[in-house]
Symmetry: C2
């Protein structure tokens, strides 16, 4: 019946089953054991988590068999208005020590963004005996090795479902539900901002520059959207998934990545004409040579499930050698979807499931990588190329011989009309299967032609 988060329905106390103290709505059943919880950071995600804990204690109690009792919340600025109402039972403080020093707080939702002080706070929390739930993918992608090793040494756990694909439970699915499989491929739309912008470019024929401000206005893109649109955010998430699904040991900065920030509307149009949609795909493919990892704008065949993921939604397609192909789809960010993932982790941690899972997770463990990253230049696939050339006889043959020199055979060439007011023509070429390295080399050669009037655009094609 209801498709979007029922934010309007989150009423304080409304869902509580039984309470003798109407002013403390977080007590569903007085006889139940309590697990005391703290939240660090009451921003977008933190205040969503607080609302779920405070207003829906009956749910968490039912699924955890115990009360998740919000004891303390830590912020930077005590005076700032918050998107949640805290009852008197919750201590709001700007002093992280108040949590660290409280031995009764067992589980902490660490919901500050960025690297520092998030890293130092995480280490201190672990050292004071807390289990941690976090949504901070940047922190995990950068300092995962240190944090996970420390947690293991201390016998503590870190849960991080919310760090990848927001409301889609991809971490649990990859690390538990599909554990009978060798995962052979994982393709994800992992950045909602980029997907929103791409969807709008396709639907409205608007340029990147036109759509970006709308994405910011709607709260999909951050004030500084650089990490979202240049592929870094997707690469951070892909690194986490590659650790989990393949036992890779890769730093996100070593993942080849291209964003959508330089995407030209013309290529969106040409892709559409040929029956494709452009998506920012995070790709992990297990091949004989190892694990191919990259984040790339990609022409995905219209009508295929990933192509039809619109707006700010995320999706992950996973191939396992036993299960075959499965796909997970849902909101990749936003207050309540992300809070949904954080609270599921809090429940798992309170119940004791996280502890069991964490022990066997290979994430950043000192175990050796089970798979090496393969050389990106050897990655095989089809490519879309758009050369921008002068409109002379003989130019087409120069371009095609540059491809021939790299042994690239051509599936189709479309010579488009010159853009109005320009005398250069866009030459759109779809290749047959080749390697990334050969395609890159051929583009370099095309760019060196005298007739070339701008860098050749190159994108992956997935049919």
């Amino acid at each position: 019946m209801v498709g979007s988060p029922l934010l309007g329905k989150v009423h304080r106390g409304a869902a509580v089953v039984l309470t003798t103290q109407p002013h403390r709505p977080q007590i569903p059943r007085l006889t139940m054991e309590k697990t005391k919880v703290a939240i660090i950071g009451l921003g977008t995600v933190g205040s969503g988590v607080a609302r779920l804990l405070l207003d829906h204690g009956d749910r968490t109690a039912r699924h955890a068999g115990r009360i998740l009792w919000l004891e303390k919340a830590v912020v930077r600025d005590l005076a700032k208005p918050r998107d949640c109402e805290l009852p008197e039972s919750v201590t709001l403080t700007d002093d992280i020590e108040a949590v660290i020093a409280d031995p009764e707080i067992k589980v902490v939702a660490q919901l500050i963004g960025g690297l520092e002080p998030a890293r130092t706070i995480m280490l201190k929390l672990l050292e004071s005996g807390k289990d941690i739930v976090t949504a901070n993918k940047a922190l995990l992608a950068e300092h995962g090795a240190e944090l996970f090793d420390r947690a293991r040494e201390l016998g503590r756990s870190i849960a991080f479902e919310a760090s990848v694909a927001g409301g889609i439970p991809i971490i649990a699915n990859v690390s538990q539900c599909l554990s009978a499989n060798q995962i052979t491929s994982l393709h994800g739309i992992l950045n909602g901002t980029s997907n929103f912008i791409l969807s709008k470019m396709h639907e409205d024929g608007a340029s990147y520059e036109e759509v970006l401000p709308e994405a910011q206005r709607l709260g999909y893109a951050e004030a500084d959207p650089a990490m979202d649109v240049d592929g870094s955010d997707a690469a951070q998430k892909l690194a986490i998934l590659a650790h989990l699904a393949f036992g890779a040991r890769v730093h996100w900065k070593d993942i080849p990545r291209t964003g959508i920030d330089t995407l030209d509307l013309a290529d969106v149009r040409y892709a559409e004409e040929m029956g494709y949609k452009i998506k920012l795909l995070a790709v992990a493919d297990l091949v004989d040579a190892g694990l191919e990892l990259h984040v790339s704008p990609t022409l995905v065949r219209a009508g295929s499930p990933l192509a039809e993921v619109g707006g700010p939604m995320n999706a992950v397609r996973v191939d396992g050698d036993a299960v075959g192909r499965v796909m997970f789809y849902g909101p990749g960010a936003g207050q309540m979807p992300t809070a949904s993932a954080v609270v599921a982790d809090l429940i798992d941690t309170a119940v004791g499931r996280t502890e069991l899972t964490f022990k066997t997770l290979e994430l950043w463990s000192d175990r050796q990588a089970r798979v090496a990253s393969s050389d990106y230049a050897n990655a095989r696939g089809r490519f879309y190329l758009r050369a921008t050339v002068e409109d002379h006889p003989g130019v087409l043959s120069q371009v095609t011989s540059a491809l021939g020199a790299e042994d690239i055979s051509i599936a189709s060439v479309l010579q488009h009309e010159p853009l109005p007011g320009e005398d250069v023509i866009p030459l759109v070429i779809m290749t047959h299967e080749t390697t990334e390295g050969a395609a890159a080399k051929a583009c370099e050669e095309i760019n060196k032609l005298k007739a070339s009037q701008g860098p050749t655009v190159r994108m992956w094609v997935r049919d």
Copy 2:
């Protein structure tokens, strides 16, 4: 890279990391603790499970932190050839007592179909202290209350991921990953046989009678496909999901259900003309009056995610009040997809996660239903009606006044040409929102008209 189960790659011992006894490929690391496992039933699913355990011990060891050691397998007929090769270390027997009496076997995959002796065997296994993993939805839908109560009394667990939607981990997702949500709606394509037949009717314009034998030949439909195509199988799975997601206490036989076995190709064509595909949807919608549950052939708007689920695939769309809308897609049956789910459950059980989860699951517990089933007649929605009437002036007005009498307003009427050689005409009506009861009543009245030449077809419409 690889989309379908790599059955060909399942080689004995191929994936074993370290073994000093080459004839016992199931030992990945000799120092690891063992959890001894038995399989009851080495049919389609059972032999797939055996292959994963035997050939991929390294995977299960990695995820469980211990060896899942296949100790015994029980079958009815010892002489029958099996779809898996058992090493000498595995005892093949036709005597269930050999498992029951073995105190070292802690976890049993119960993979016999049907109600008896499956039920009696399950009870005996629980009583002898085993935790159970099963794929038998019919047994759970029929005797779930007894089995789950007994398991709880005995402090044992039953895991059943494979019982609904095969390879899609919908049980774990609904009962754990989305536990911060009030689930408000769950729509599923839960029967692969029906979906395969419907997809073929749409793609090839073939009739139900023409496609059914193909479904049987390809192994999608059983020799007796009645439960698949009459909606019973989907209703059994829906009952399990309704228990989990909504705390309902409903027997599958009380879920109103219509199958695809009476579906006319003409309606497939008319639906397509109007931009819809017919899907067998299992629906659970939480409304003010309670939980609406039914299984119905439904016109689903083409291009929407559920409409595009083709072939024998399954999908489940879940709306949660925090997460919004998520969707899970994958193979709903088949040897290795189902085995993937069974082995994930075996790992969860060996690790100890199942025990923790099972305690808080509300499935068939003696806790009161959290939600009552609402009266199906009050379920609201749009309907597709096809009346078959004589081609007389005035008939259309008789039909529309039958609808008017039930306060049903009409969105569109399409009067089709009489079918060749017949002098009756099909009158296709799309209603505006009304209730199921009113639509049923109106159809009855239309059927009573003198001009009526056959029962009026009625299906739900989902835009």
